[in-house]
Every structure is written in C-alpha cells, then in structure tokens.
C-alpha cells in the first residue's frame, strides 16, 4: 500500500494565490473525488502534484510514502508512480503512440529488466480494444487529429499501460458521449486494486455511477471545505454549492472590495474583517 499526503499546500499562479492550505490524504486502493465550482483550484491541485511549471508552491508539503514529492522532477514523480490524466493533452507531431508509450515504459524499467516487445504489443492491443479505440492507434501520432473524446481515452490508455500508484484524473469525462463515458468509467474502475488509487475531478455525477468511490472532497476558495462519502455527490447534484457556503460560513469572493481607496481597503490591508 502507498500513501499520498498533501499538507497545508499553498500554490500561486503568476503571483496570485489559488490554493490556500489544502490538506488531503489518500491511500492506494481508494478512489477519491474532488468536487467544487469552477475556478476553485481543482486543476491547480492535481497539476501541482504532477509538477507543472506554471504553479508555484509557496508553502506546504506533498509526500509520497513519506518522500518529498516537491523535490522531485516531473519525470521522477511519474516514475515513482504519480500519473496525471490531463484536461488538455498535448499533441506531438511525428511521434507514434507506440513509440511514446514504449519510451515511457522503458523509462521506468529497472536496469537489468528486459523489455518484451511481444508482451508490449499484446497489452497495447488489449488496452486499445478495452477502450474501444481505433485499431490503428499505435501508428497514429500522439493526440494529433484526435477528437476530444479520443484524447481523453488515450489518457486512460496510457494510465492502463503505465500502471501508476496514484492517478489524478482531471475532468476526464468532459467531451465524452454517453457510451464513451461508460467505457472510460468502467476501465478506470477495473483498475481499482490494493496498489492503485485515484483522485478524480469531475463536474458530473454520471461518471461516478461507474466508479466505486470511497471519499468525496469539496474544494472551494482554495481549501478543502468538507469531505464525506458518496452522499455528498447526490447533494451537490441536486443543490449545487450554495449550501456549502452557508453551512461553512464562507464569504462570497466576488463581493470583496478590489483595491478601492478608502476605509474598506485600509481595513482589509490591516487584516481587519470587512463587512
């Protein structure tokens, strides 16, 4: 079993603080769902765990089995078992999916380990058919000319091939039609095992119908406000997020003064409560 811990994580983008002290702990064998309104920092959190260059960690820790993830390069994080299925995967001209995934597998092999080409081809073909993707996928260039849904499925295919410990799925369901959604959901769920866990970002309850979810977290205003079981999903689906604001006494972010000269701004700069 592996453990991923996020401790008091503060993250800024272009000098603007997005995450303001996130705490989260998950083990392999568990599926966690991260929910929250748009722009509250869900993608920021998973991108930061992967090590995206745009995000600056100003405070806090990320630990993988006690090891400091923030000290690792992006590729090292991947080799240690972290995987990010991206919302907008890159297109790589001239590089076939087969070569790409082969290189990624090579990168995580032990020095004396042998690469079995036959095994590789077989598992690639199997994953392709399980995800109901085009049979010529290995020869196609990485994400080039892929539809939105194909790109998402290709992310899941890579996840299946690379077998990470922790998968971070960033809105993997957007752009999928009903059938594709089921295929992706079932494939992700099939991976659930004592050595695999996932942190799933989604806006839709539908994907979660296919997943055996253990925990749900609600991220708002840069913090995890509350966590619970599957019942939270249904509640948000019916009522939205307003109840969270009320229940946890959150301020409305938009109503704060934005640099108006006067007493309010002065009060704010002095750290006084402004109402």
């Amino acid at each position: 079993m592996s453990k991923l811990e996020i401790i008091d994580l503060h993250v800024s983008v272009d000098g603007k603080e997005i995450l303001k002290g996130v705490n989260l702990e998950m083990n392999t064998g568990e599926f966690h769902v991260l929910m929250g309104p748009n722009g509250t920092g869900k993608s920021t959190l998973v991108s930061t765990i992967m090590g995206h260059y745009k995000y600056e960690v100003t405070k806090g820790q990320i630990l993988l089995d006690g090891k400091d993830v923030l000290k690792m390069s992006v590729d090292e994080r991947s080799r240690k078992g972290i995987f990010l299925a991206m919302q907008y995967p890159s297109e790589i001209e001239g590089v076939t999916n087969a070569d790409f995934i082969k290189a990624a597998l090579h990168a995580r092999m032990a020095e004396n380990e042998k690469f079995s080409l036959i095994k590789y081809i077989k598992s690639f073909e199997q994953a392709t058919s399980q995800l109901k993707m085009r049979a010529d996928l290995p020869q196609r260039y990485v994400n080039v000319g892929f539809s939105g849904g194909e790109k998402k499925r290709n992310e899941i295919l890579q996840m299946k091939m690379l077998k990470p410990k922790f998968a971070l799925l960033d809105e993997i369901d957007s752009g999928l039609d009903v059938d594709a959604l089921r295929v992706v959901g079932e494939n992700v769920n099939d991976m659930k095992a004592s050595d695999f866990g996932a942190l799933i970002i989604t806006h839709y309850e539908r994907l979660l119908d296919y997943l055996d979810v253990d925990k749900v977290h609600i991220l708002m205003q840069g913090k995890i406000i509350t966590s619970g079981g599957k019942e939270l999903i249904a509640k948000i689906d019916q009522e939205g997020y307003d109840w969270v604001k009320d229940e946890f006494d959150l301020e409305d972010e938009q109503s704060r003064p934005s640099g108006i000269i006067g007493t309010c701004a002065v009060k704010e700069s002095l750290g006084e409560k402004n109402d």
């Binding site: 390069s73 590729d75 995987f83 991206m86 790589i92 001239g94 990624a104 990168a107």
Partner: protein, 469 residues
C-alpha cells in the same frame, strides 16, 4: 537508458565515423592549384583529350569567378592550401579479395559489407579520390543498368558522358562548379535504360581520408524515359583540425515519365566546408525527389534544384538541417518551373542548438511558360536554446497569371507544454526533447531506407547529447 549510454559510447568512443586509416598514398598533386595540376590530374587518370579540354576550360572559368554574393563568409578558404588529387590505389579493384587490407578495415568499420548484403543492389565505394572497390550485381547488368565511378564511365561510356556531362550544371554556373569541373575525381555514374525500373536502392559511401584534401566528386545520373531509380549517397568523414574543402557536383537527368529519388544524409565532421551543387533536369511528366539530410560540416551550402523543363514535370525536396556549436547550415531548395502544369513541393525542417546557425534559403520560380504551375513550400525551424539562430530567406517569383505558390514557415522553441506532457509520463527532459525533435524531422526520416533512418536517429541523438548547453 543504459542501452542508450552504450550506444552513445559505441559512437563517441572512437567517433564511429571519425576514425582514420593509415594507407600509403600512392600519388598526390601537392598543395595548390594551377593549370599544370589540372593537366596532371587528367594525365594520371589517362583521360581522353575531350575531358582534359573540359577541365582546362573550367579551370579558366574558375580563375575568373567571384565569391558567391550571398550566404556564409567563405573568405577563410585558401585554395593554395588544398591537395586537389590523391591516388591511393593504382587501379580500381573489381573483387573484394583484391582490396588492400587497410582499406578493407575501414570498410569493415563502416559496415559496408553487411549493408551490401542487406540492401545493396550495387556498390560503388569511394576511398579518397579513387574508387577502389566497385561491384555491380548481375541483376543490374542484365537490365542494362550502368553503375560505376565517373572516371570509369569517361573511358567506358564516352558517348553518354559527353552528351550529359556539365550540361545540367555547366562549368560556368558558379565558382565551385567551375572548380569541381576542373579537378573532379570519383563520384558515381548511373545510367538506367528506357523503361527499366529498379526496386532496390543503389548506394554509395564516400570518405575523405587525408587532411586538407579537397574532395571533388562528380556524380552523373541519367534516368531514361519511363525508367526509375533510387540512389542513396552516404557521407562520413574523420575528425580533423584543419579546414577541409568539399565541393561536389551532382547532375541528374530525368527523362519523360521517369522517376529518380536521390537520398543523402551528409554527416561531415565539423571541420569540413561543404559547397555542393546538385541539380536535376526533369522532362515531361518526370519526377525528381531530393531527400537531403545535413547534419555535419562547419559550413554547409547546399540547395538541391529541379529544373522542371517538360510539361507536367514534378519536383520534390524534403530536407533537414541540424546546426550545433560552430556550425552554419545554409541550405534549402530551388524549383525552376519552365513548362505548363509543373508542380513542386519543398519541405524543410531545421534544428539549431548550442550556438549553431541554420538558414533556409530557397527559390521557387514560375516562368511565363509555366502556366498552371503549383508550388508548395513549408519551412519549419526549432531553436533549442537562446544561443542559436535561424533565418528563413525564401524567394518566390511568378511570371504568369495562372500559377500559384504557397509558402508556410514556422519558427518555434520546444514547447514547454509538450515537454511537461512527455515528462509526466516518465521521460527525462533530454529524452523528451529528443522525442519532440525526432517527431519534428519525421517527415524526412520516414522517407529513408530503414538502415539510414536508424543511423539518422543515432546521429541526431549524438548531436543532442554531445553539445554543451
């Protein structure tokens, strides 16, 4: 990773193509060039008078010629420093067993026999200025294909040589064409008779093996009507400290409905100044393809050209240029449309790193008669760091109202987002960069025979790892 290191060591350990073999040179003309040297070369080769006349006339042209008005500064070239002709073996060997051992060792290091077994339909290998080993497989002879070194062709096939030699690239064309015509030695001669189609590529390896020796191959390929051939030229050279000049001329004639593909990966060591004139005359409905890779050399100037002379003729150039520290690649393509319904395509991929400079310089011209001509030009450049530079210098001329030229050009750095994507799957930054670059040149490498694609792959990897920064 481990394997990669091993591969790298195999290449770098003894710079795979940078070894030098000690062979006693039988004869050379000494340093410098004058009319006597030209006469001596012709005499040593036992040439007919008509060829000597061509050489002398070209030498006079050369004396009158001025430096090119464009491109890299070549004023460092000192024509008095070079040796223009070296004879390393008295006669052209016809059997492998007769080839001297030291030369054989060089070939073994180049893996040429192995290559021959796998791919070659015929081999013509140039060691220094003289072709010492030349083998034509029976199949070729049966089809009436002539494949030999150009020196032999002068003696054996004088009618063909006289008809085509210095016609597509006349001695008056440019300074280095004049020089080559005056002192040329070696190179390949190919004649493919009417209607003969060769499915296997013909190949040749070239090698400079003496310091300060200029190499002036002259290649002449004639593809008769409705015939087809793929010729592969491989170039490797040892590493030396002083400048070495290489000025080759390649002339190709493509007949009616004929097809010719000429593939090169040129990998001169970084002290070579490479100034090549490559040109094809394409007749009605003929098709010429230049597949041109430029990796090595200190200064490289090369603009493979097609003269689309017959109606419906087609020209294609797919090229890459890779400039690293201390290198200037000034390469491109020329397409001259002289007839109606002619089409051309240029795809150029350039990469520069650690202070290298890579320029695309090209010309597409549609003359008045080239009605309904179409051209498509695509030049893309990746600049890998802030030390390196690139210029794109296209010239497009249309002299009629019915033809058109499309020109697209991009210059970019390796995208951070792409790097992140690949690294998030476990590839190191270097591996990810390499993968993006290999993908970038894929339109070129996919056109190469398998063996060459593998070699190119290794060379690029080496270039990427070798340089500082």
């Amino acid at each position: 990773m481990n394997n990669d290191n091993k591969d790298l060591e195999n290449i770098v350990g003894d710079y795979k193509y940078g070894f030098k073999t000690d062979v006693e040179n039988v004869f050379d003309t000494g340093r410098g060039l004058n009319e006597d040297v030209v006469r001596l070369i012709s005499k040593m080769k036992n040439e007919p008078k008509w060829m000597l006349d061509i050489r002398l006339k070209a030498y006079n042209e050369f004396c009158k010629k001025k430096w090119p008005s464009f491109g890299p500064d070549l004023s460092n070239l000192n024509f008095d420093e070079y040796i223009y002709y070296i004879k390393s073996s008295k006669k052209t060997e016809s059997s492998w067993d007769d080839v001297p051992k030291a030369i054989k060792d060089t070939f073994d290091k180049l893996g040429i026999r192995e290559a021959e077994q796998k791919y070659l339909a015929g081999v013509s290998t140039q060691f220094e200025s003289e072709v010492v080993y030349h083998n034509t497989i029976n199949e070729l002879e049966k089809k009436g294909v002539l494949f030999c070194d150009t020196d032999t062709a002068v003696k054996k096939y004088p009618d063909l040589v006289q008809k085509y030699f210095a016609k597509v690239v006349p001695a008056t064309d440019n300074m280095f064409a004049s020089l080559n015509t005056a002192v040329w030695s070696g190179g390949s001669f190919i004649y493919v008779p009417k209607g003969v189609k060769l499915d296997k590529p013909l190949q040749s390896y070239f090698r400079i093996n003496t310091e300060q020796m200029g190499q002036f191959e002259r290649t002449l390929i004639i593809v008769d009507d409705e015939a087809s051939v793929h010729y592969v030229e491989g170039c490797t050279a040892p590493l030396y400290s002083k400048d070495s000049l290489h000025a080759a001329v390649v002339e190709i004639y493509v007949g009616k409905k004929a097809y010719c593909r000429y593939s090169t990966i040129q990998n001169w060591s970084n002290n070579i100044v490479n100034l090549v004139t490559k040109r094809t005359w394409v007749d009605e409905d003929g098709h010429m393809e230049w597949i041109d890779g430029n990796i090595g050399a200190n200064i490289n100037m090369k603009y493979p050209a097609c003269i689309l002379a017959g109606s419906g003729a087609k020209g294609t150039t797919i090229s890459i240029a890779f400039a690293s520290s201390g290198q200037l690649q000034d390469t491109g393509a020329k397409m001259i449309h002289l007839a109606p319904n002619t089409t051309s395509q240029i795809i150029s991929k350039s990469i520069c790193r650690s202070g290298g400079k890579v320029n695309y310089r090209g010309m597409v011209k549609h003359t008045k008669k080239a009605t309904n001509a179409k051209s498509h030009v695509e030049c893309d450049t990746i600049i890998l760091d802030d030390l390196s530079t690139s210029d794109t210098i296209p010239t497009n001329i249309v002299e009629n109202n019915t033809s058109y030229i499309e020109h697209e050009a991009t210059v970019s750095k390796v995208s951070e987002e792409q790097l992140f994507y690949l690294m998030s799957r476990g590839l190191t930054k270097d591996q990810a960069t390499e993968m993006i670059v290999m993908g970038f040149i894929e339109p070129f490498s996919k056109e190469l025979p398998m063996e060459y694609a593998v070699e190119l792959n290794q060379l690029i990897k080496l270039e990427m790892k070798n340089s500082i920064g």
